[in-house]
Symmetry: D3
Subunit: 341 residues, 6 copies
């Protein structure tokens, strides 16, 4: 997806946009590659247009392998296989970030079961981890089915699967099937190893009651309560993780994270941080958490890495972090923002 | 429509885009208003999103009345009523201008018959001139029908109608009905007063043979030949007009124009001009020509005004001219580019 | 007026400026139109130059009607009817915003009594509300007289009048007539319905003693005290309103607002907000307050709307808000800056 | 003076301006200093505002001595001592450069006789050359008188004086005294050593008949004819010089130069050159010519240097050249534009 | 190497630079990958600093494999292993492109024999073509030796080698060994299959007499004469190729190309083209020529492809082409710059 | 030195850089000149390249005299006399500022004893104050010796000398002589009048024990303790001064300052301030402190001036302040950031 960003201004009065690449799953793959040096690939579809070429150019700069992108022929006015677009602001102070998602009928939103040879990826190519998320699953009937196909193939090959619910009420509410959100997410949740999302996302996606409200916007207690309840219901899940965000203003958030790993709880308590561009904070968290888990770190260290990576991702424009593993580790370990020289 | 323009660079390697508003009919309305001071309105549909608001902001700056815009509710991912987008480069030297049109399923592309009260516009409001074109007609079955509805209503009220064929082969070729281009354009051409397009457009749209090829890229002879033939076939048409463009390079064109008015021929012979952004040259011509006709000038003066307005439109970025009636008239009258001081 | 803005830098070392349109009364008209959808017009004079055309272009984008602008012929060096200019910085942290106002002998500053047909505006056109302010009145003898003429005409037609004192000591101090500030403002204040300005402005403009100093920079008590005293003296005034600003730094202010409506007091307590560009906060407040009053809201809701609109106006560059009625209402109702998605 | 430049766009639709310093006399002083390494100073007045500070910042970067600038106190709205401004476009192709000069009542335009101690400059400080011009002289009665005062003082001290007529009809036409142009310029011309301006400027300024029209826009014959006639009338003048410009388009000019030195004629025949920003070409010529004369070169070499410096000044944005003496000499000697490496 | 580009301005007055990646060999590898879709790698050394990371980011976007980059530890002030930098202007009209090369002691300039396992590359990895050039060879004693080592290894494995002399007199003149240029280049020339460079480069690098001068700047006759003579002397070379450039101005060149393949001569006659940024034209030619040869095209088609790719590379900023194989082929086949739509 | 600044982004993903001039000693000279109006000169060496010309252009704009710059001939690849470069980020929130210093073998880094005629400067020219610092001294053996030479010459002529230790561990650690830092700094410290640096710098440079750690990052107690101890050991020093910085985040620091003057202690307690670009805060402090001392203010006022100047320097991009003496004094005296109007 291409993110068009009006910088310090607003979409409604913009005269120019910066362009970045983005998308929940991609952002995680990019973070693992560009920040942490893991080899990653992205499975998606792009139109064979100048915009598809631009997306490729940006993905290449992100270091993510492009050999699993499916290229679609495009017609002259974007009837069939568009490039997914996302016009999103940064927000400032009391003015929250706003955006327009324009990704219906994108090439990616039409990815259907049977088009990707998952067995080849998980077997021959040797992919060890599959990360996917709830926005992609919500785009169309096809993407829901494709997500399930991928997850099932991964489990068949013993590949670890992480799933970020990334719950957007409006998205599932607009789905042709009113029950689609619950149905699709329940099925996926019953298969994956790592489930990311807060108690509200869990409740909405799985058709549960979220329990008592938070006492403050970054209160992890309701999340903890729901995780305890889900532990028995979804024994396949070994890690439940969530970020806790209290938007004091668009420019300053309290930012924390919690995870449970086989009954053990790890937390980075919410701390006030400056935000340049909030987009990608959650994906940055997921990438850092997964890096920690792949590296065999304990859940406390992994959550700290995720928290720090997400925090750094929000100090630069665009959806993705522009940072190094060393910087992330230093922040995860409590380092200050003093200049290094 | 929003035009996203990568400036001196290319879409495929862009990191930012300037944004302008555009669209064939709109550009003509804007030129008549902003350059020549005529009151104009635009009949279209926009989505009620931040992008629709941006289009409104740009149209307002263009001085064009917005009270006839239909606002459509938008869903969260652009399934139903998108903002039409158009990513187009400027080209440079041996590198031609390239673009990606992304306007399928835009709110405008879904404008259907019965949604606009044309009688009110042509009667109560007192609109005196209707300008429409072939790109809008080609977008969907609905837009073809809506174009016809508008043209018929205009004729019912004695309103002058100009139609710019703006023929794009790829566009009609992608139409569900293979014969749509010929069928729709023939019907419209049988109704209008002013028909704009070169002999190739005439032939393609009306299902005719274009006659002998041009001897050089700006050769008006085949156009003249076809006009003579059409004069009898389409007696409703009082003005046939075309621009003649010889793209010596993307940065320099030979640019001319020809028109026939009730058998009288007027021409501005093609002359070498510098091009900053070619988009909108033809619309600029149409606006200048219509201005001349509305002002009651003879066809020679009207064509010169159209030629000059189109030439000036291509000296600035964006689809539209940033000029004044005085500048256009001075150029039409053969003025030099010497600084005025 | 054109605002030239050096962005994050300073005027004294600038190599480029962004340009916006501004001016106290205009900003209010624009906010009512662009944020709240009211039809508004601006009564001013502009030079017939490229700079006047630029101002028109910006005003058009603001949606404000331009048909009551008087166009002045300009000479080759700006002797007679200049475009008013305003070079103003944003400030940052401990560095306050600085500026250079260059509007003497602007076309607007020479607007004289008799040049505008106020009766036509208030009668035929049906204008229901007149907003004017103290900076315009201070520009010259003519503008003071013109302001009075407009206010008197408005009262004659039963049109509501709001007046923002916008007191700048230096401005009136530079006036040829040392007593002009007090004399002009007193006369205007004796006619209007809504008076905007804090106790210091009231005292200075009306020649009163401001009473005890504030105990902290956003302390409304002295304002309240002075309003109580003025209520009897100026029975024509039904609303007294002021913003309370504590500039903790140029980038962060405590921002509040107070108003009295026929003895009833409404307040938004000062709250810390981030500031991108402070210019236009007060005008944004005035526009929101007036919107609330026009919409028939009670004074509490109107003040909240004004406060929120002013706060949002300061989150974007330029003098004016780039926001929507929905965003303003959400903030007025206590909404957070969380991203909406 | 500050030059505000809308870059590739137009003033009337600008959203930002680049800022440069400029002014006929200053440009010559800057070229002599920054290109050719001569020590130069500028005698002018600036307001003590942030804009005056910006002008100083730019002049400092130009290397020109600032110790002879008179600083004026400024009032809050620019009533008395403004900063002179100049909004000027670059033009492109068939679109000529347009501008708005806004320098009336600038601090410089009010420079009056008696304010500058010319004797000190020409005696103690040891200034050897005075360059002044017709735009400054035309600004007001005071500047005309000040110019004369400076020229007379220079002659008293045996200092060489060059005067660039820089004739702008509109400027003198707007002068309070209709005969001012002829009267002032005649008096100055009777004193100076080097007179710059084409036959049209000579004729207009000196109240003569320009003789037969040019046969083509860069035809030097009428200039030659008038020089021959003036040689006897103005025996004080040892050098007559003019540039010959044929604006094929705003982006391409034929550019030549002619000079007469004590009866000897030197010419660079007009040659087609690319223009990025035409402003400052004439001043660049003057600086190069003066450099050649100061360096003791013959008139042929001096004219070539002037021609080359003017040509290079028009290849960069802003009023001034960004070049080196080596580049100018290479071009003057017929070098190509091949990359040097 | 990082290219820092002051855009339309000059280095000496720049306030900002765009940054691109570049370097003769790299540019060829990038063109083959990004334009033509060949898999390519770059063998070089970069410092482990933020600048090295920036170079990697740009190379990744170019699609070129980074696994053969050697990473060097860097000290705090750039004593040992710097990032090579190149500040180069674009030139405009009569103003030629100028630059500052700052690449001494860069990590790349210290690449020494024995550091790269060429046998692995040519054997295991299966590299089929080695392209190298004379600028790298000239940087230091080490790079000369490393170039020879690479070329010898390539020949040992039957890998095709192309060598672009890229002769810069100043570079070899500054070499510690005055005879280095001739000695090193002769040895390399005796080994390679494809030799790129004009007759002046051939003569200078091989210690020959260049023969009679060109009759015009793009005259291929002296090149042809020298090739005929070299054919016997250097039987290892199967292709001699050169571009012919006549810099009418920095913005417009006549651009042609000639090659000899086993006695057969192919030429694209020099044609006037517009230049945005001349840097990389020669590298673009080399990439297109090599693509043609790899694809098995005849020398006529290969030279046309090289000519067209080089021409397109100069229509965009930066050292590299931003184009597609389809565009290059269309231009090579004589297509016009008309917009495609 | 040229500072290349990626703005809000990062070096590793930059596509453009703003360029500023900088360098510890220069920044102090520039602050004294541009903020406070003192005449200052800079003694350094620059290469005769376009980059050297750019540095000169920036220094000229800073108002600092350039007549004591030594110009070095440069070779074609930067072997001998490079321009010192410094790529440094601004940092944001939890992300600290990072940079790459690329100044080895710069012309300045090779400045050797005997090249500058210090006696002329301190005697004939009449320089009254010499400011130098520890980064320059650390660049090479030559710069250490040159620093000592300058300091000794200054003392010989009774010129006041201030020395900012500017301790960078990595810099001295990379020095060929492991003991160089201690040896050189001790010798300098034994000669100077004003020593700037915190207790950690003092301890490291002078080979002492820093004493107990700070209790919080801006705790001045250990500094005070060390100063008391040094007072006896270094009787030549009359002023010890340090800034106290607590980097709460890269965007917000607590910023304070302490100085001792002949046993009297002055402090500005650390206060939270917003940071746009931290670079140059310490140099700004030094300039303000020196200005206070030159002006004969007491140590309390001088420290406040230094603190305020440093604070303002960090509110604008680039290494240097863009402020006025009036603004600095207002802030030093406790003024607020309210807009002045």
């Amino acid at each position: 997806m291409l993110r068009l960003d009006p910088g310090e201004g607003r979409i409604r009065t913009a005269r120019s946009f910066e362009v970045w690449e983005g998308g929940g799953e991609y952002n995680v793959a990019r973070g693992l590659r560009k920040t942490f040096g893991r080899r990653t690939t992205v499975v998606t579809a792009l139109p064979r247009t100048e915009l598809g070429a631009l997306a490729e150019d940006l993905i290449l700069a992100g270091g993510v392998d492009i050999s699993n992108i499916l290229w679609r022929e495009a017609d002259p006015i974007g009837r069939d296989a568009r490039m997914g677009l996302n016009f999103t602001e940064r927000g400032f102070g009391v003015r929250g970030a706003l955006g327009v998602s324009d990704r219906a009928r994108s090439a990616a939103a039409q990815l259907a079961p049977g088009e990707v040879d998952w067995d080849r990826l998980f077997d021959e190519v040797g992919v060890r981890w599959l990360h996917t998320g709830g926005i992609f699953a919500a785009l169309s009937e096809e993407t829901a089915a494709t997500t399930l196909e991928a997850v099932r193939a991964a489990k068949r090959h013993g590949v670890v699967v992480s799933y970020d619910l990334n719950y957007r009420h409006s998205l599932w509410a607009a789905h042709p099937d009113p029950d689609a959100g619950r149905r699709v997410n329940r099925e996926i949740a019953g298969l994956v190893d790592v489930l990311i999302g807060d108690e509200y996302a869990y409740a909405s996606c799985l058709g549960l009651d979220a329990g008592p409200a938070r006492t403050h916007p970054a209160d992890p207690a309701p999340f903890d309560a729901l995780v305890k309840r889900l532990t028995g219901e979804l024994p396949n899940i070994s890690i439940f993780a969530a970020t806790m965000r209290d938007p004091l203003s668009a420019s300053r958030n309290r930012w924390g994270a919690v995870a449970w790993s086989d009954g053990e709880r790890a937390e980075v308590e919410a701390r006030e941080i400056d935000i340049l561009d909030r987009v990608g904070g959650g994906d940055g968290f997921a990438a850092g958490l997964i890096e920690g888990l792949i590296a065999g770190w304990d859940i406390h260290a992994a959550v700290r890495l995720g928290w720090a990576h997400g925090a750094l991702a929000m100090t630069t424009p665009g959806d993705n972090a522009m940072t190094t593993a060393a910087e992330v580790r230093a922040l995860a370990d409590g380092g200050s923002a003093a200049a290094i020289r």
